[in-house]
């Protein structure tokens, strides 16, 4: 692999140069040259520096927007002023198809208490109760969730007490989320809050018996652009029974009966690992990190799942599905590889996608020269084994850690420690995630919580062929003449999961890096080969047009 110019160390110096001392000291710990063998310690999940143009959002966005948002039949009421409910309304592209278990779909509705000054002064609980009653009257939902915004926590509204009271009154499940925007340091706090409440109030609530031999839950898959549909199709063809997805294309009943699964798959580790751990403790369901982004990763995940259950028929069917899919995909891969191989990519997004999408670029022969997360923790970079060494700071301490105990009635040990060890030997590692860094090149730059200034600088320094980020970065990057691929909303493309999704992504990146228009930005008369432009016509004086005016119609 060619050494990049500038080197990681030089680039880091360039990025840090402009900063005031305090900012520099902090960013130094968040911009690192990678070592896949011994990942360096990264200063992740720390406070955003005031005044920095960050990619990050808030806890409400992580809770209501990310984890809760994709559920179609939990009626979600935002308790707060109108904005938060408005901005989180249909903006994340979570697709859903109502079915018999969950025929309702409330995702197209934005419900809010539209808090006014008088509620800020006198409290908003009364209005919240009334709003819940009105919502129930109109929608008759099976469950209502209340999402708190910043002022709610400050004025001391107790959304949980209101939820308990309304649950009693209405006889349906009502629960609250204290996901005020200022909690934690990013969306990540909201994920954790959402996990806790989902686990407490939804998981295990259903009496339904789920039939199926190889029952699984898919955690951390939000069905953006239809990814869940592709994954569901693969599961079905291989012979797995999907009990619930958290939370793409899922309904309440799915999630309420998810304790019956025998394996939890964790895709977006950052946003849902808490749930996996709690389910293992309470119900004895082991979890496995999977990645359905990228052809190799998808095949790997399916094989691991089949091996976990160890059923010969399941393993054969899974292999057959993989073979069938790869036969379709390989020609597409080969075709785009010819046009994309060796091109450079940078990914700065999310808490998982900056890792997952590297597999797709690798499939295409492209090189990821720099990557980082927006709201990840150290374990997302360095691997789960560093968790004991992570210092818990004040911002993390503010996020509730709920105590989960084994449920003697519902607990069922799926795999003994011996079985787990045997699986691990066979390459089926349970309850672990190795993180992004071990997979990246040596000396690739890993940048946590990248900001506007650093993004611009990185593009200037390396001129990547594609830069992956979100909507706020999209047009900044493209104004620099570099295509930007949005990995939050997929630029209204997708699905990108599984084999079918991989083909879509290859074609999309091929389109982006080979778009003709990028070569036409400089007008032909400014291209060097055309030399200097001449003097403006006006410099020749007005007389040169006089002969034309004689030919014009005369005024009356």
């Amino acid at each position: 692999m060619n050494e990049l110019v500038p080197t990681a160390a030089e680039a880091k110096q360039e990025l840090l140069e402009i900063y005031p001392k305090k900012v520099r000291r902090k960013r130094e710990t968040q911009i690192l040259a990678n070592d896949p063998e011994a990942p360096p310690v990264i200063g992740a999940n720390s406070r955003t520096i005031p005044g920095i143009i960050t990619q990050r959002g808030c806890a409400y966005a992580g809770c209501k927007g990310v984890v809760l948002g994709p559920t179609r039949d939990i009626l979600q009421i935002t308790h707060g002023p109108i904005g938060c409910g408005y901005y989180s309304w249909l903006t994340r592209r979570n697709q859903t198809v109502p079915d018999e278990l969950g025929p309702e779909n409330y995702m197209t509705y934005s419900l809010s208490t539209d808090m006014q000054e008088q509620e800020i002064i006198f409290g908003g609980e009364k209005k919240l109760k009334q709003a819940i009653l009105e919502a129930y009257e109109i929608f008759k939902p099976r469950a209502i969730a209340i999402c708190s915004t910043c002022p709610v926590g400050l004025i001391g509204d107790d959304v949980h007490a209101v939820a308990r009271e309304m649950k009693e009154t209405l006889g349906i499940n009502v629960f609250g989320f204290s996901c005020e925007g200022y909690k934690g340091v990013s969306q990540s706090a909201g994920h954790h809050i959402a996990n806790n409440q989902f686990f407490k109030h939804v998981v295990g609530q259903s009496e339904r018996t789920v039939e199926g031999k190889f029952k699984i839950n898919m955690l951390g898959e939000y069905n953006i652009g239809g990814d869940s549909f592709v994954i569901e199709d693969l599961f079905q063809r291989c012979g797995f029974t999907l009990v619930a997805t958290f939370s793409g294309n899922a309904c309440y009943e799915d999630m309420a009966s998810s304790q019956q699964a025998d394996l939890d798959l964790v895709q977006c580790y950052r946003s849902i690992n808490y749930m996996a751990q709690m389910m293992e403790t309470k119900y004895g369901i082991p979890w496995m990190k999977v990645n359905f982004i990228g052809a190799k990763s998808t095949a790997k995940a399916l094989r691991k799942m089949a091996n976990y259950f160890g059923d010969a028929g399941l393993i054969d069917r899974t292999e057959a599905v993989i073979a069938e899919e790869l036969a379709k995909l390989t020609p597409v891969q080969a075709e785009v590889r010819g046009r994309c191989e060796g091109k450079l990519a940078m990914l700065f997004v999310g808490g998982s996608r900056a890792h997952h999408y590297q597999d797709l670029f690798t499939d295409m022969g492209m090189r990821v020269i720099s990557a980082g997360y927006e709201f990840a923790h150290r374990d997302d970079y360095e691997g789960r084994n560093v968790i004991p060494t992570i210092k818990v700071d004040a911002d993390s301490r503010n996020i509730e850690e709920i105590e989960v105990l084994r449920d003697p009635a519902a607990f069922r040990l799926r795999k003994t420690e011996e079985e787990k060890a045997r699986l691990a030997e066979a390459g089926v590692l349970l309850g672990d995630y190795e993180g992004m860094m071990p997979q990246m090149d040596k000396n690739a730059l890993v940048i946590d919580d990248i900001n506007h200034y650093e993004s611009e600088k990185m593009i200037e320094l390396y001129k990547p062929d594609v830069f992956c980020a979100g909507i706020k970065e999209k047009y900044v990057v493209q104004k620099m003449g570099v295509p930007c691929k949005q990995l939050h909303n997929y630029d209204i493309g997708g699905p990108y999961a599984g084999f079918e999704g991989a083909a879509n992504f290859y074609r999309e990146i091929d389109r982006l890096v080979n778009t003709r228009i990028w070569k036409m930005i400089t007008p032909p008369w400014l291209e060097k080969k055309n030399g200097e432009s001449g003097p403006p016509l006006a410099a020749r004086g007005p007389h040169h047009l006089a002969h034309l005016s004689r030919l014009a119609p005369e005024d009356d």
């Binding site: 808030c58 904005g83 309702e104 779909n105 197209t108 009105e134 400050l154």
Partner: protein, 460 residues
């Protein structure tokens, strides 16, 4: 059906807003501040507000939308955000080097009661604001008013902080264009120039949100009003404020502070509102209207007279912001179209009066509503009870349009599923022509789609 849970029967709601026809103040403040040259808006609150506002504005303009945030944590929410804002000001000037920082508050910083005046003075005293640079602010608590109110307050803050009257008067006109698109401002300035007048326009998002693709990212594009120009606005001969909800506060403030006579007009959308705008300008240029403008007006009339049969009697449901709705309603009435529902989430009794005025005799046959309960859910219920021929509103309306199979004209903020609004104006005579064309396309495409074979016409 994507809105299958919306019942036909309208029940009164007193606490629950469903599918709002408004959003919160700070996003308007951010949009306004971006109409100041080399200004970096700053959101004093949780970083999520800034992220949401930037995302929504970016989707609408498809351009870089730069803004910084105080990134409150739980600690700052308890102890106040002063330290965050002071650090932010220092970091912003060092790293991003804007000329101006336009700070707005959020529900969070307002609830805890941060005193922005005092913090900015402290920043000044501590030497955190470099020589020749500016920091100004507006209070925009999200639990009051709407996004339009936030815009109005930030525009007023420009006057409060910078406009000065040095005792002289010159022939410049101040143009406060309101919450419109860069294309609209470009068109308004063109009309002013055609009228041989000079104006100071603020805020001005042209050349900010319609910048060319050059392969170079310019964090501070060439557009926007400068602080010295806002200062000079205090010496202008007059102010024309367009759209009372968005521009009223600033127009009045300029009159109160610098004695610049202000005239508030409805947005010049449609024929007669544009006529009034031109008439107002004519007052300052010796009553001259160039042939070019008279011809443009004539072309608007020509389209209307040519195609009147397709407009006449068409019933319209509208939602959006007050200034846009009032002007559009007047235009529809002039076309012999029939507005039946007019909904805005932006609260204010003044809207009822203005809309009644433009509806004239029709007023008692029209359902119009502002403030709480005036949301898209309510509008959809009305539509289910009695169907219009056309829906006019912002992008979210497409869900109603699809369920009810209605032609849908995207108009207002936000438009996040089409492009064009930042490039092609809806104000002025040219804007009127564009609106006419868009409405005709909708009606005639539908006619072509729905006509039985024997009624399908080559010529329309």
């Amino acid at each position: 059906m994507l809105m299958k849970h919306t019942p036909e029967a309208v029940a009164e709601r007193t606490a629950l807003s469903i599918n709002p026809a408004k959003t919160c103040m700070p996003i308007g403040a951010m949009y306004a501040a971006l109409g100041v040259h080399a200004c970096l808006p700053h959101s004093h609150g949780s970083q999520g507000c800034c992220a949401y506002h930037r995302s929504m504005l970016t989707r609408h303009v498809r351009e870089p939308v730069m803004a910084a945030t105080s990134s409150f944590t739980e600690g700052s929410s308890v102890f106040g955000g002063q330290a965050n804002l002071l650090a932010a000001i220092e970091n912003i000037f060092t790293i991003y080097n804007p000329q101006v920082i336009g700070v707005h508050t959020t529900c969070l910083s307002e609830t805890i009661g941060d005193d922005l005046n005092q913090i900015i003075i402290k920043a000044q005293d501590d030497g955190k604001i470099p020589e020749g640079k500016y920091v100004f602010h507006a209070n925009t608590p999200s639990y009051v008013g709407s996004h339009v109110t936030g815009f109005a307050r930030m525009t007023k803050a420009m006057v409060d902080y910078y406009a000065e009257h040095d005792g002289t008067r010159n022939e410049t006109i101040n143009l406060i264009p309101g919450w419109v698109e860069p294309s609209d401002i470009r068109e308004l300035k063109r009309l002013v120039a055609e009228m041989m007048l000079e104006c100071i326009t603020f805020p001005d998002q042209s050349d900010v949100f319609d910048t060319p693709q050059t392969g170079k990212m310019n964090m501070y594009p060439k557009g926007g009003v400068t602080v010295p120009l806002i200062k000079a606005a205090g010496n202008s001969e007059a102010t024309i404020g367009l759209g009372p909800t968005a521009s009223g506060l600033a127009t009045e403030a300029l009159e109160a502070k610098c004695k610049v006579p202000g005239q508030l007009l409805e947005l010049p959308i449609g024929l007669r509102a544009t006529d009034r705008f031109i008439a107002a300008l004519r007052h300052f240029n010796g009553r001259y209207v160039p042939d070019s403008i008279i011809d443009e007006r004539g072309r608007v009339l020509d389209i209307i007279t040519d195609m009147h049969q397709y407009f006449h009697g068409k019933r319209v449901a509208l939602f959006g912001d007050p200034d846009q709705l009032v002007a559009m309603t007047e235009f529809l009435v002039d076309l012999d179209m029939v507005p039946i529902y007019i909904i805005t989430g932006t609260p204010g009794k003044n809207f009822d009066e203005r809309i009644s005025a433009v509806l004239g005799d029709l007023a008692d046959q029209v359902i119009f509503k502002q403030g709480f309960g005036a949301d898209q859910f309510y509008l959809h219920q009305l539509i289910k009870n009695d169907r219009p021929d056309l829906l006019i509103g912002t992008t979210h309306g497409k869900y109603i349009a699809r369920d009810e199979d209605l032609p849908f004209l995207r108009f207002g903020f936000p438009i996040i599923d089409r492009c064009g609004h930042t490039y092609f104006p809806t104000v002025g005579y040219r804007g009127a022509m564009r609106l006419l064309e868009k409405m005709l396309d909708l009606f005639l495409d539908r006619k072509d789609r729905d006509a039985p074979e024997e009624k399908f016409e080559l010529v329309l």
